[in-house]
Each structure stands twice: as C-alpha cells, then as structure tokens.
C-alpha cells in the first residue's frame, strides 16, 4: 500500500510536463556554476603560484636582510567552488614585515570590480533559491489539488489509512525531487575529478556533508509545501502562500535578522573608533607637553643663580640624561596610545561578534539562513575566514621578523647605507649589499590555516540540526492537519 502511494506520487511528479524541463534547466545551471567555479579556482591557483614565485624571487634579490619583505597569499581552496561565502570579498594578500601590522588586501572584487557586478552564482545559492522554489512548486497542491480534482474521494473510498497516505505523499515527493537533485551533484563531483581539482579526503567529506545538508534543506521546503497543501482548501490559496513564504524565508528573514541585530547591538563605526583614538592621542600628547614644561622648569630651577659658564657646564653634564628621560616619556605616550587603540579595536571586534551572533540567531528562523551558515562553515568560506588568516599571519609575522633579524646579525652587515669619510681614502659609500642573492631556503614558510572536516562540521552542526527540526516540524504539521482533512 505505502509502496503504491509512493510510486504513484513519484510518477505524478516525474511524469508531469513541467518536471523534465525545470530539472534539466536547473541541473544545467548548477553544472554551469560548478564549471565556472572550477575555472575560477584554477585561475586563482595560477595567480597564487605565480605571485608566490615572484615574491620569492624578489626576496632573494632584496638589497639585504634588513630590507627583506615578505608577502603572503591566501591559498585558494576547492570548496570555494561550491560556496563562495566571503571568499571573494576579503583580501588575498598581506605584506609581512617588521614595521607594519597584518592587513589582508586585494580581494577578488576590489581587483576585478566586474566580478562584483556579476557576482559568481555558486551551487549553495542555486540550492537555496532555486531548489527551494522548485520544492514548493511541486508540492504546494499535493493534497488540496487532489481534493479539488476529486481523486481524493476515490482514494479514501478504499481502506487507505490517512497516515500512510500523507507519508506516501511525502516520501514520493521527496524521492521525486531529491533523486533529480542528486544527478547534478554527482556530475559536479565528476567535474572535479575530470578537471583535476586537488580534493583531499577531508574535502570530499565536507562536500558530501554539504550535499547532505542541501538535501535536508530542500526537504524542509518539500514538507512545507505539503503542509501548505493540507492547511488550505484551495490550491490557488496555497500557491500564493507558498510564494509569499518563499520570499519571506529566503530573502526577507535572513536580512531582517541582520538589520534588527544592527539596531539592537550598536557598533561604533571605524571612523568613530578612529576619532576616539585621535582624541585620546591628542589629550595624551597635550598632557605630555604640560609635564615637559614643568620638567624644564624644575630642571632650570637649580641653575637660576648660577653663572653663565656654570650653567653651560651643568647643562652639558645633564644633557644625555635629560634627552633619554624625554625620549622615555615620549615612548611611553606612544605605547599608551597604541594600547588604547588595541583595546578599542578589541572592543569593536567583540561588539561586532556579539552583533553577528544575534544576527545569526535571529535569521536562523529561516531555513535559508541556517542552510547558508551551514554551507559556509562546511566550505570554510564563513565569516571567520578573515580572522583565521589574520591569526595565522600574526603567528607567522614574529617568526619571519626573528628570522630576518637573525640573518642580519649573522651576515654582520648593518644593512642600509654606510658612508665613511676618511681623509686618506676619501668618501666611501657602502650599500651593504651582500654578494649574489640571499639564501632564503631556511626561511620559515607561512602555514596556510588548515580546516579539517571536524573543524568545518562542528560549527555547521547546529544549523544542520535546525534544518532537521524544520523538516520534522513541517511534516508533523502536515500530518496532524491531514488526519482531520475533509476528503469529500
């Protein structure tokens, strides 16, 4: 009996005239997206390799250890083919040197604005927007459509348990929509192999989990469509409701979450933070000036009564001491200002994290948000990607500068330019350039932050669980509604 119901529903969907065309088109769209993604990935890899090689070359030809500067590139990851996330928005390059902090610059979109205009449509987007709509369009009249056509009556003139019927509907619709979804999934995987994208076992696991999550996400909309078809009498009503709820769940709720979170947790803008820091610095320097004046006065006090020569001698005697003291104070002021800026940044970052958490929590009411969050976490193109790289770079930077200092000491050269003036030999300028190229073979390399399957799956777990809950709740709703559905 259940088999009969399932096969019938499956055939109804698969044999419907709209089915083959829609699935052919959407599958093609998905394959196209993956193909473009792979091409862009290979481009990114080429760019990464040439730039890295170029950097190495430049470092070897540096004027000396003193002027050795490193540039680190964010390596492309195959998962960006499926879920772009923030990948194209955040910088790919950071200079690593002793005098400037880490800053990732040169994002894909800032380098090639045309890409930002025609944003890359990734697989996750197609699933979240197109396949959710398809799921609704093929299920919104699952039950009330049959009631309208009059077939429900004939079905229930037989000894058909209602629970089994609605279960058969769900399973049939699920198979009818998920199996065709798996075809572009498998072909995409095939494309990866054919175009030799270096996928590690962890990558495959992450991709498989992403596929599973996508299926779960579409399941939510299948169950929601069936729920709407049992909650309304007329299919024209449920059609309208399904469109409205699709727009709300896929487009409005995710953004509303971010907007509301922005209203609740107010973050000072970067400009405000900078202004605050400048004000602090100004105030700090003003106080420094004040103390400087009192110091001068106290320094001059004992010499008021001295003779001119004594005064000169006294000054001469204390000159170094005073200069060092002033320098110490100045350095202290700079240190205070830096500390203030650091803590302000830290606060800003914490507030931002708090806002993000709230935005995610609010938008998670939508399965589309939950899916998106799970997808970016699985792909590693989530919002923490930038921080992960900055952290790794901040670990690398002292290693690199230490190496540079060590090399510089070993080579004995001071670096820079030495000018010797000798009455016998005249003026001699030494640029400090070592002979030949620098040997940087033992330079510490930057370790690209690795994301294991566990690292990716654990933060995605909550959203995957949420999608499971949404599916279950929607189906339970449909089930309960149908037990009392008027089948006449």
């Amino acid at each position: 009996m259940l088999n009969t119901l399932i096969t019938h529903e499956l055939r109804t969907i698969v044999l419907s005239p709209k089915f083959s065309l829609t699935f052919a088109v959407t599958s093609l769209l998905m394959l196209l997206s993956v193909a473009v993604g792979i091409a862009q990935y290979h481009d990114a890899v080429r760019q990464y390799e040439t730039t890295t090689a170029l950097t190495q070359q430049e470092m070897r030809e540096a004027r000396g250890w003193m002027s050795l500067n490193n540039t680190v590139l964010r390596a492309p990851d195959p998962m960006q083919i499926f879920v772009a996330g923030v990948n194209d928005d955040i910088g790919r390059i950071s200079a690593v040197n002793s005098f400037r902090g880490i800053k990732l610059t040169h994002s894909t979109y800032s380098d090639d604005p045309v890409y930002a205009v025609f944003r890359f449509i990734d697989m996750a987007f197609i699933v979240s927007v197109v396949f959710s709509l398809l799921a609704l369009l093929f299920t919104y009249d699952a039950v009330n459509g049959e009631a309208e056509r009059g077939t429900l009556q004939l079905i229930f003139s037989n000894a058909v348990p209602r629970a089994r019927y609605i279960l058969g509907k769900f399973i049939g619709a699920w198979l009818g929509l998920i199996v065709p979804l798996c075809i572009p999934f498998m072909l995409s995987a095939l494309l990866l192999i054919v175009w030799s994208v270096p996928m590690s076992p962890d990558h495959w696991l992450r991709l498989l989990t992403l596929y599973g999550t996508s299926i779960l996400y579409v399941t939510v909309f299948i169950a929601a469509g069936i729920l709407l078809s049992t909650a309304t009498k007329r299919s024209s009503t449920s059609f309208l409701y399904s469109l409205v709820s699709w727009v709300c769940l896929v487009f409005i709720v995710p953004r509303a979450g971010a907007t509301i979170a922005g209203q609740i947790v107010v973050i000072p803008t970067v400009a405000e933070v900078e202004a605050e820091r400048d004000a602090f610095a100004k105030d700090r320097w003003a106080r420094y000036e004040e103390t400087l004046q009192t110091t001068w006065r106290s320094r001059n006090a004992p010499i008021e009564s001295m003779t001119r020569e004594d005064r000169e001698a006294y000054r001469e005697q204390h000159m170094w001491e005073w200069m060092e003291e002033d320098d110490r104070n100045r350095k202290q002021v700079q240190k205070d200002i830096d500390a203030f800026a650091l803590s302000a940044n830290e606060q800003q970052r914490n507030r931002k994290a708090e806002q993000e958490r709230l935005a995610f929590a609010l938008s998670r009411f939508s399965p589309a948000s939950a899916y998106h969050l799970a997808a970016v976490n699985l792909a590693g193109t989530d919002i923490t990607l930038k921080a992960r790289y900055e952290d790794a770079l901040n670990i690398y930077r002292p290693l690199f500068t230490a190496y540079k200092d060590k090399k510089q000491k070993e080579s004995g050269g001071m670096g820079g330019i030495r000018i010797e003036v000798n009455t016998d030999t005249g003026v001699k300028i030494d640029t400090g350039r070592e002979k030949g190229v620098l040997d940087i073979s033992d330079m510490p390399r930057f370790e690209q932050p690795q994301r294991s399957f566990r690292d990716a799956a654990v933060p995605a777990m909550i959203d995957i669980g949420l999608l499971g809950f949404f599916s279950f709740a929607a189906f339970a709703g449909a089930f309960v509604r149908f037990l009392r559905y008027d089948v006449r």
């Binding site: 056509r149 009556q153 004939l154 003139s157």
Partner: protein
C-alpha cells in the same frame, strides 16, 4: 433463508455544523443480489447518506454498516467491503485508463491483475479498446464513469455504492450502465444507488426508497410496483424536488 444485509442504515442522522438536517433518522438495508435505488431530488440527502457510509462524514446519530461493520467505528475494515462510484468520477488526467485502474485497484487492496484483466473489464464496461492506453485528458464524462465502474468491478467488493452514476449521460450510455449494474447484481453484489431519475430506478431497482428533505418517506419493492404506483411515486418525488 434470508441473507444478512451487506449495507445497512440504522436511524442514520446527519446534522451539518450550520444546523442543516441533511439526513433524518433513515433506516434501510441492501442484501446481496439486490439493487436499492435511493430516489430523490436535489438536496434530498442522498449524497450525505452515501458519504456517511464511506465515513467521509461522522453521523450525528445512528449508524451506517457495511458487512456488519459500523463505518464510523472502524472505517478501514468497513471500506474493504465496498466499492464506490461517484456522480462524477475523477481520475488522473495525465495517466492512461489502465494506469488509473492499476493505481486505484491496488489501493482497493487487489493485486495480481494482468493487463489482460484490465482489457477485459474495460471492454465489459464498454470502453473502446483504443482508449485503454490513452491519457484521460480528453475523456468524456461517460468514459470516466465507465472507468469508475471498472475500478469498482476490479475491487471485487461485495457491496457497491453509486451516487447518481448516470446523471448527465446520454440515454444510450445510461441504459448500458444500468444493464451493467444488473449483471453485477446477478453476480450477487449488494448495490446502493442514488438517483433522481424515477424511470431508471424503476427499470432496474429491486427496491426503491424515496428521500425527501432528509427523510426516507417511502420504500417499496419492485414486486409491489405497478403502473399507478409509478405515477404516485413520481408525484411524491417531484414534490421533493420543488421544495
């Protein structure tokens, strides 16, 4: 020895939520090998009665029994013993006649039919062979009613419920349909049919019950029917219609 009735209404009453009393304390029974015609105009309560048998509605009081099982108490057990043909048989338009048959027959709990069985039954109900494997999209009402009765035949239940099965059919199709019902009666089926057509009822029914405003106002066996009875029945019937 008198056989047990297969279809039985005992004080069957239905009052809709809006207060309309659609069926009022109706009692009758249909035995194997009997055609019972429920005769009445629009709104007499015929469809409501049949819906009560199929448990599409809960009775307000009384009960409808199929093979001795009260429909509202154990609908799944009761429905095993009955086949249903509605006023307007609705099937899946993007499936063929045979595919529709196969689906509904399986839901009726019958398996093991061959394509030959479907062909035989469809020919028996008078559906031309070239239509068997056509999608139902272009089928006329008469063709759909034929498919409906074919499904009922294949379900092979001892009782059959038909709600105005011939309304809207041309005279020839209506006649053939009634002939078919007669042959099913001869096979021993208990048949409850609603109709507003007095002549058709008299032609083939073994028992006629006249319904008017939810009440079973009269019940008469075929044997008791005579020329003047027909006139009287007709008048009573029309009185129900003009109400």
């Amino acid at each position: 020895m008198e056989q047990q009735p297969l279809l039985e209404a005992n004080g069957l009453t239905k009052r809709y939520e809006d207060g309309a009393l659609a069926v009022n304390n109706v009692s009758f029974s249909v035995r194997p090998g009997e055609i019972y015609a429920m005769l009445g105009g629009n709104g007499a309560g015929k469809t409501t009665t049949i819906n009560l048998f199929l448990n599409f509605l809960e009775p307000t009081s009384g009960e409808a029994r199929i093979a001795g099982i009260a429909s509202h108490a154990d609908p799944l057990a009761a429905k095993k013993h009955v086949a249903f043909v509605s006023e307007n048989v609705m099937l899946y338009t993007n499936f063929t006649a045979v595919q529709n048959l196969a689906y509904f027959v399986r839901l009726g709990g019958r398996t093991g039919y061959t394509t030959e069985d479907y062909r035989r039954v469809l020919l028996r109900v008078g559906l031309q062979e070239e239509a068997h494997h056509k999608k139902l999209k272009g089928f006329s009402k008469g063709m759909r009613q034929k498919c409906g009765i074919a499904i009922a035949i294949l379900k092979d239940a001892p009782a059959i419920l038909l709600d105005e099965p011939t309304s809207g059919l041309d005279p020839k199709s209506g006649y053939e349909f009634m002939q078919l019902l007669g042959s099913l009666r001869d096979e021993g089926k208990a048949i409850l049919m609603s109709t507003h057509d007095i002549f058709r009822a008299k032609e083939s029914a073994d028992t006629i019950g006249i319904m008017r405003q939810g009440n079973l106002v009269m019940q008469q066996s075929r044997a008791a029917l005579s020329g003047e009875d027909l006139e009287r029945l007709y008048m009573e019937h029309m009185a129900g219609v003009t109400e």
